[in-house]
């Protein structure tokens, strides 16, 4: 098989495993002049379940897993690290935090009958109602940092440390909700709209993702404390996609990962006409003045060649975003990856593929030095 990369596909067993073999014609050489890659073969086993995946790592059946380590497995893996069987590396803060967005399409069924749902104050109230530190402590066992926008500390120089934050402030949340027209008129502890109906809305999410399920449970609980009645509706991917595509939803809790830090590669999200301008899909022109401003800023920054200029423009875009909060962010987990002791040359990154991105420089320690 011909290939340009360091490895070529040798065998593929659908749904079970992929075997990549060394490409003898790969162009790169290391500093000492030796041909890369070092490894002869990489076998990727498709394990359907995270439990089984972790177990194989713990028992030495695999050398690494391509997912981040889950918080609940960290304790056990830390033990193994102490025994010398594994090495754990904290690669940094994730660049793909989960996000909560509200349907801002003005002609959707959401907009009719519940005008408070699309108000800026409503979103800002939610941003103040959730205790991000408790979120990080509970769902991620402390291995996460609070974030207030789509760009996290993991994005390096693109991150804006002085971005205005929506700190945990339930009183402020209630005040904002009052401005949006929601107060407790019926005395049941839940806020109601002008007609006395309880302010309820639903949050769609992908079923089967434990972290996200816990996150939404926590968010709902915090919202209830300020009087909002939210219901989580876990759906299967295709059903979720359909609701999002047809703008038939109130709110969605989801995430998407990027393969680069550069916002120039994320235009689909920021531009009004983008295919992932998720709060208002399918538009060819901006729906609001601030989205027009975002469009202008993003187009400018991607056209510039001066890095400092680009960072400045993008910072401005982030501030516009923070003023209107079309999408809410709460915490970004720390990316922790695990490899067996015998794997050397790994420089884990927060971007996927965390370890295999530089597969050509991975090597295995000599047999005597390995675990067992």
């Amino acid at each position: 098989m011909v290939g340009l990369g360091p490895f070529v596909l040798q065998a593929y067993d659908p749904g079970k495993s992929l075997t990549l073999a060394r490409n003898p014609h790969f162009w790169k050489k290391d500093a000492a002049g030796r041909a890369l890659p070092y490894l002869d073969r990489i076998e990727i086993q498709i394990v359907p379940e995270q439990n089984a995946e972790v177990l194989r790592l713990q028992s030495g059946g695999v050398d690494l897993v391509t997912d981040n380590v889950r918080p609940e497995d960290l304790a056990a893996l830390r033990d193994l690290e102490r025994q010398g069987a594994l090495s754990l590396v904290d690669a940094g803060v994730s660049t793909a935090p989960d996000m909560l967005w509200i349907n801002l399409k003005s002609d959707s069924t959401t907009a009719k009958g519940r005008p408070w749902l699309q108000r800026d104050e409503f979103r800002r109230a939610i941003a103040h109602a959730v205790d991000r530190q408790a979120f990080a402590d509970t769902v991620f066992l402390g291995a996460a940092v609070p974030v207030f926008g789509p760009i996290t500390p993991g994005h390096g120089e693109w991150f804006l440390p002085d971005l205005p934050r929506t700190d945990f402030d339930p009183a402020r949340a209630r005040a904002l909700l009052r401005q949006a027209g929601l107060t407790d008129r019926t005395g049941d502890g839940l806020l109601d709209d002008a007609r006395g109906r309880t302010a309820s809305f639903s949050i769609l999410t992908l079923k089967g993702h434990t972290i996200r399920e816990r996150s939404t449970a926590l968010i709902v609980e915090h919202l209830r404390k300020v009087g909002l009645d939210a219901t989580v509706v876990p759906l299967e991917f295709n059903a979720l996609r359909q609701h999002i595509g047809e703008a038939d939803y109130d709110a969605v809790y989801f995430a998407v990962s990027y393969d680069s830090f550069d916002p120039g590669r994320q235009l689909e999200f920021w531009l009004s006409s983008g295919s992932f301008h998720i709060w208002n899909l399918g538009r060819t022109s901006p729906a609001t003045p601030w989205e027009a401003r975002l469009d202008a800023l993003m187009k400018q920054q991607v056209a510039s060649f001066d890095r400092a200029e680009r960072i400045r423009l993008f910072a401005e875009a982030q501030r516009v975003f923070a003023d209107h909060l079309p999408v809410l962010y709460f915490v970004a987990p720390r990316v922790i990856v695990a490899t067996s002791r015998r794997v050397t040359g790994a420089t884990p990154s927060v971007l996927p593929p965390q370890i295999l991105w530089n597969a050509e420089t991975l090597a295995l320690a000599p047999a005597g030095a390995s675990r067992q």
């Binding site: 659908p14 749904g15 079970k16 086993q45 394990v47 359907p48 379940e49 439990n51 089984a52 177990l55 194989r56 713990q58 028992s59 059946g61 299967e236 991917f237 295709n238 059903a239 996609r241 359909q242 595509g245 998407v256 689909e268 295919s275 992932f276």
Partner: protein, 306 residues
């Protein structure tokens, strides 16, 4: 009697074929009716709408469900089950391979479970106060009450921490144990009750009065009579075993039909879904057929005359 049995088998085979076809057709229609399709996975990945639409046409997913059904039947006549949209490989090949693994595991599980469960059931059913029953019954109840996922994980934990059994994917030991122990418990419970009922039946009491020794009475006559309800369930058991026990396959990474079906479902892989349904239905039909034949042979009085 043999020709009666033969015509019985032939009639059942014909019904089985019709059965398999209907189930597969229904599964096919259902997957077309479910929200989303194979191409909707491409949304949010940056692929433009034009490509998505073109792929949809290429896979034939823009046509009405009945047309899909017609195409599938046409393919079936040519022994062509279509190509999987997920893996790009012929469905027949994918299923054959997974079906073999599932059948392998299923056969072993069935053997182990029957070898343990049936004799134990006979003993506990005929001697409910004995020491065998005192030990077996509580264990049976625990195994029956244990959710399959928890049981499989517990076994995995045990295997991993003691190192006695290998947990490599593709090794039989853990999935076989995870499936056969609960099944043995279920068979034991059913058999136990069936024997207790059979032993109280008047014709057995009459036979005892005629002087047939108790050992023979129990292990030949009562056992044979009690097989009725147990064999009635066997068809279902075989069917479910061979279409794959999902939780166990997932937990132990066993490459069986259950996982294939589940992945096909999530990906809306239309032809693969139909093929998996076909395989599953075939197993159930065969299981029922085998069970019915066994019953007909064990208890000569059961024939299917109108």
């Amino acid at each position: 009697m043999t020709s009666g049995l033969a015509s019985f088998v032939i009639r059942r085979l014909a019904a089985a074929c019709l059965f398999v076809l209907m189930v597969s057709a229904s599964a096919l229609m259902l997957v077309r009716l479910a929200p989303g399709d194979a191409v909707s996975q491409l949304t949010f990945t940056g692929v433009d709408q034009a490509t998505i639409d073109a792929t949809r046409v290429r896979l034939g997913l823009d046509r009405p469900p009945l047309v899909t059904l017609r195409d599938w039947f046409a393919g079936l006549l040519r022994f062509d089950l279509g190509t999987s949209s997920q893996y790009g490989q012929p469905v027949a090949g994918l299923i054959a391979e997974r079906a073999w693994h599932t059948a392998r595991l299923g056969a072993i599980v069935l053997l182990i479970a029957s070898a343990i469960g049936l004799p134990l059931g006979i003993i506990t059913g005929s001697r409910p106060g004995g020491w065998v029953a005192a030990i077996t019954t509580p264990i049976s109840i625990v195994l029956v009450a244990c959710p399959p996922l928890v049981g499989a994980l517990a076994l995995l934990l045990f295997a991993a921490s003691t190192g006695l059994i290998s947990i490599e994917p593709g090794r039989l030991a853990v999935p076989a144990l995870a499936l056969s122990l609960p099944l043995a418990a279920m068979l034991e419970r059913l058999q136990s009750r069936a024997v207790a009922d059979a032993v109280a039946a008047p014709d057995l009491v009459a036979a005892a009065a005629r002087g047939i020794p108790p050992g023979r009475l129990l292990w030949v006559h009562a056992a044979r009579q009690s097989l009725g309800p147990v064999l009635g369930i066997y068809g279902i058991v075989i069917g479910s075993l061979f279409s794959g026990s999902l939780a166990v396959e997932f937990a132990t990474s066993w490459p069986g039909l259950g996982r294939l079906m589940r992945d096909a479902l999530v990906a809306r892989d239309v032809w693969l879904v139909a093929g998996c349904a076909l395989a599953g239905a075939a197993f159930i039909a065969l299981g029922n057929l085998a069970a019915d034949i066994a019953r007909a042979m064990a208890d000569r009085r059961v024939t299917e005359r109108a």
